[in-house]
């Protein structure tokens, strides 16, 4: 998922941060619900939680692809399995836990057949009971909505008809449900290491079959989680209340929640949202703090701000099919020419320099040592000379309405000019940037991009962004058209393992090797930092209750001082 962070005060941003919800599997997923989850202590309830929120695209779980919505959905729409609502700053990132299903699924047929049985007596907020067929209806509804998430279902048996003509999708043979027994069986074409995670993201969160098959936002669909959204005024405000039909501790992994109602106001103006929380009118700010005011806020409200590294990587793509970046030396020159610490400074310090592609919080992450491309302009200039592409025209693409990304583009353009190319800048509005850059006819040579994981498994990184077999003419995510045959083969192998082998030590080491070869041997991309997020609480809140799972706070577990 691409990020479009709230921007500077001058231009109210287009859309809020688009961070993916992280679902990570640490340890075997097959055993019954392990109960070492540490949900917030009960008895900390309070009437109202007033939050400042970034604007989002939709509030319909079948359509939205933004963090601002997914962060709310985690306590509203639950899937067969859910991500554990536990803090995961160390290395054991959030785990998969049973959700509406009693277990995390019986995996048979070599990892191609998943079977779940639903818990008894769960009701939606509109009173209807949760039925097994609702799951299949939800997936079909996603196709009917032309949801951006239908790409995740491509490995399910019998989905081809729906993929060909989404709006006419009526049945998926690979999904078999039995309402009386309450069972759901999903058959896959090939084993898929990350399929459990896919079942825990909002696209697969179950909504009533009666939900209209179009964007339903005011109010959004009925919920099966501890909370339900009572009203939503696009880009303005939303209200969330406790789900009357939610039975306490019905699903161990999902906390019952402390606030009775959640009042949200939406704005993309960073300094204004910080103001609202600093003045105590609101209790939590989901937007980033304005970069230039960071030191001011940290020094004035030391214990009300928390920082979290996120599983995100900011990198420059280089189109390997176009001069000059079809030349390895040219790509290496770019890596030498960027000072990663300065790029962190551009973000006011909210970043950790990196030379890897995978984020550090992954078990598959192994820091590439020695540092492959230390900052060295002279070496970069030499490499450009040796590559024989000196003096060529290079166009740097960047996002025009997110100030920090714009400055990053300007930085790269200036550095490329210094090492021998004729670089010019092409800023494009955020809403269209990824569509234009992802279109082969644009012939984008080099440019700014970032990636926030959909789920914490390397397949969401390499298979989507750097796999030669996934290059498409339109809406291509492999902007650099990276096509390393050996790496492609290894990625596909590692991505189609049954769940139990998916996290073995050997698999992790193999993913780390892919990371290393693409960076050191092929300089396929030029990664430079992993993003850091801020959570700003008002003086009334107790920051220690804050559970920051992978890249978002869990509102349900906030508590007062």
């Amino acid at each position: 998922m691409r990020s479009k962070r709230g921007t500077s005060v001058a231009i109210a941003a287009v859309v809020a941060a688009g961070l993916a919800l992280v679902v990570s599997a640490c340890g075997g997923g097959s055993s019954g619900g392990s109960n070492n989850t540490t949900s917030a202590p009960a008895g900390k309830t309070f009437p109202t939680l007033k939050v400042v929120w970034g604007t989002t695209d939709y509030l319909d779980p079948g359509l939205s692809y933004r963090l601002a919505s997914w962060q709310l959905f985690q306590d509203v729409y639950l899937g067969l399995v859910v991500k554990a609502h536990v803090s995961c700053q160390t290395d054991n990132c959030a785990k998969i836990e049973p959700g509406l299903a009693t277990t995390t699924g019986k995996v048979t047929d070599g990892g191609k057949d998943f079977e779940f049985t639903l818990r008894k007596g769960i009701k939606y907020s509109n009173g209807e009971p949760v039925k097994a067929s609702d799951f299949k209806a939800t997936i079909i509804r996603d196709f009917k909505l032309n949801s951006p998430g239908i790409g995740f279902f491509s490995n399910i048996v019998g989905v081809d008809a729906c993929e060909a003509n989404p709006t006419k999708c009526s049945d998926i043979s690979g999904i078999v449900t039995d309402d009386t027994a309450g069972t759901v069986e999903i058959k896959l074409k090939t084993p898929e290491s990350d399929f459990l995670y896919i079942l825990s993201i909002p696209f697969t969160a179950v909504v009533p079959a009666s939900t209209p098959q179009k964007d339903t936002e005011n109010p959004p669909p009925a919920a099966n989680g501890p909370y339900y959204i009572t009203s939503y005024n696009p880009s303005k405000s939303f209200t969330i209340k406790r789900n009357p039909n939610w039975k306490k501790n019905e699903i161990p992994a999902v906390p019952n929640g402390n606030p009775d109602t959640i009042q949200g106001t939406m704005t993309d103006d960073q300094s204004q949202s910080a103001q609202l929380v600093a003045s105590g009118q609101y209790m939590y700010n989901q937007n980033l703090l304005p970069v230039d005011r960071l030191s001011f806020y940290k020094q004035k409200y030391p214990d009300q701000i928390k920082f979290f590294t996120t599983p995100s990587t900011y990198y420059f793509f280089m189109n390997t099919r176009l001069a000059p970046f079809d030349n390895l030396k040219a790509r290496q020159a770019v890596n030498y020419a960027i000072d990663r610490q300065q790029l962190v400074n551009l973000r006011g310090g909210l970043g950790v320099p990196t030379w890897n592609f995978l984020p550090p919080s992954y078990p598959q992450y192994k820091k590439i040592t020695p540092t492959p491309y230390p900052y060295d302009l002279q070496k970069a200039k030499q490499l450009v000379q040796q590559s024989g592409t000196a003096g060529q025209k290079v166009t740097v693409y960047t996002i025009s309405d997110v100030a920090v990304d714009l400055s990053t583009g300007e930085y790269l353009q200036s550095q490329l000019n210094k090492i021998g190319w004729k670089a010019s800048l092409k800023p494009i509005a955020g809403a269209n940037y990824f569509t234009i850059v992802g279109n082969q006819s644009t012939k984008a040579q080099i440019g700014f991009t970032d990636w926030f994981e959909d789920f914490p498994y390397p397949s969401d990184w390499f298979n989507v962004l750097l796999n030669g077999e996934r290059i498409t003419k339109v809406h291509n995510n492999n902007y650099g058209n990276v096509d390393v045959k050996s790496a492609n083969k290894e990625m596909n192998r590692l991505a189609s393992l049954p769940p139990d082998q998916a996290l073995s030590a050997s698999t992790n080491a193999a993913w780390a090797k892919v990371d290393r070869t693409l960076i050191v041997d092929h300089a396929a991309v030029a990664p430079y930092l992993n993003g850091i997020l801020t959570s700003f609480f008002s003086s009334k809140m107790n920051p220690d209750c804050d559970v920051f799972t992978d890249n978002q706070d869990d509102l349900a577990q906030f508590c007062l001082k």
Binding site: T90, L294, Q415, I532
Partner: protein, 376 residues
């Protein structure tokens, strides 16, 4: 003033017995009278005299010219003083400020301590050095370590170039349209007037941004015109198009008033073609209004360019313009106010001097202030 005439001048005429009191005798009479011949002063000379006496207007004209000259000397400023080209990013650079080494951009840093990132905040550019750093960063640095003073001058070149050129094009276009519509009248006048109404009905800033954004993606490639997306000609085209009614309508009104005056009928009687009448008869009469409107439109188009660039529809980055600098600096207003402050001051000063000079010019050229600026 008449000198006192010699006595009995009438007798001398009466007694010489001339038959007829003709024109020659009148001239002769006047010559004898010794009254000083009143040299005909053209309105322009009179205006020039009034303007010369208006010191305030001239002072501000001087300020405007000073600003223009300074901006034109931008390359000299780079080679002699700042030694930092306009788009040269120097985030990691170090500068000697009165003996001490100082980072142009304060260095941040992040350490991971038991899973929690500990952040040392960086990214704050140094403020105005006023020469303490030997010509470097006199007005301070921006977030990418570029020299604000250099960019201020280069930005000035862009903003002034756009402002003046678009005002010139707009004036020429609207003068021609006004003359044609007022002279020919009828259906031509109707069409041109509706054209004026149409642009007039458009919310100016909205039209400007819409055009600016639309064209800035891939430039304008239609027929002979081939403008690349980053060129200045896009904002120029946008601004000159948007302001046409501001000059066109008042001018059309004035030309209409002159249209059926006798001296026009006389010119037509002498067989003058429409072009000659329009440009050698009508135009000189409204030239003073055109000149005054021009100065005011230049001031307005500079302000509009700033607005457009501020919203990202004017000058395209990384080229500086006063508008883009204000926008860039707006994010760092608290830690590095210099980035936004100085362009703002430069704009206010330039536009103020243009307005004051325009005022003085209008008083000199047209003391009875016939021109009504129809729309602010």
């Amino acid at each position: 003033m008449q000198a006192a005439p010699p006595p009995n001048v009438f007798e001398s005429v009466a007694t010489t017995g001339q038959e007829e009191f003709t024109l020659d005798t009148a001239a002769e009479l006047a010559a004898e009278e010794g009254a000083t011949q009143i040299q005909g002063k053209s309105p322009w000379v009179l205006a020039g005299r009034r303007l010369r006496r208006n010191y305030v207007a001239l002072a501000f004209l001087g300020v405007f010219l000073l600003v223009v000259v300074c901006c034109l000397l931008a390359p000299v400023y780079v080679s002699q003083v700042s030694h930092i080209p306009q788009n040269d990013v120097r985030t990691g650079a170090v500068v000697v400020v009165s003996g001490k080494k100082v980072n142009v951009i304060s260095q941040g840093g992040t350490k991971i301590v038991n899973g929690q990132p500990v952040i040392k905040f960086g990214g704050v550019p140094i403020g105005s050095q006023w020469g303490a750093a030997g010509g470097k960063y006199i007005l301070g640095a921006d977030e990418l370590g570029r020299d604000v003073a250099t960019r201020l001058l280069y930005g000035g070149r862009n903003s002034l170039f756009i402002g003046i050129t678009s005002a010139a094009i707009c004036t020429i276009l609207s003068v021609v349209l006004a003359l044609v519509s007022a002279y020919f009248g009828g259906i031509v006048d109707w069409i041109i007037s509706r054209f004026f109404d149409l642009i007039w009905a458009f919310p100016v800033v909205l039209l400007g941004i819409a055009l600016g954004t639309a064209l800035s993606v891939n430039g304008f490639h239609h027929g002979p015109i081939n403008i690349s997306s980053g060129s200045l000609w896009i904002p120029i085209g946008v601004i000159s198009f948007v302001f046409i009614p501001y000059i066109g309508r008042p001018l059309r009104g004035q030309v209409l008033a002159l249209r059926n005056r006798e001296f026009i009928e006389a010119a037509t009687a002498q067989g003058a073609g429409p072009v000659r009448i329009m440009f050698s008869e009508l135009l000189p009469n409204v030239a003073s209004s055109v000149l005054v409107l021009f100065t005011l439109i230049v001031a307005n188009s500079i302000l509009t360019e700033v607005g457009l660039s501020f919203l990202g529809a004017g000058v395209q980055l990384p080229n500086p313009s006063w508008g883009t600098m204000i926008q860039e600096g707006s994010r760092l207003l608290s830690t590095a106010p210099q980035i936004s402050l100085f362009p703002g001051i430069a704009i206010a000063l330039t536009v103020l001097s243009l307005n004051v000079f325009g005022d003085g010019l209008r008083d000199a050229l047209d003391p009875r202030a016939k021109i009504r600026i129809e729309h602010g």
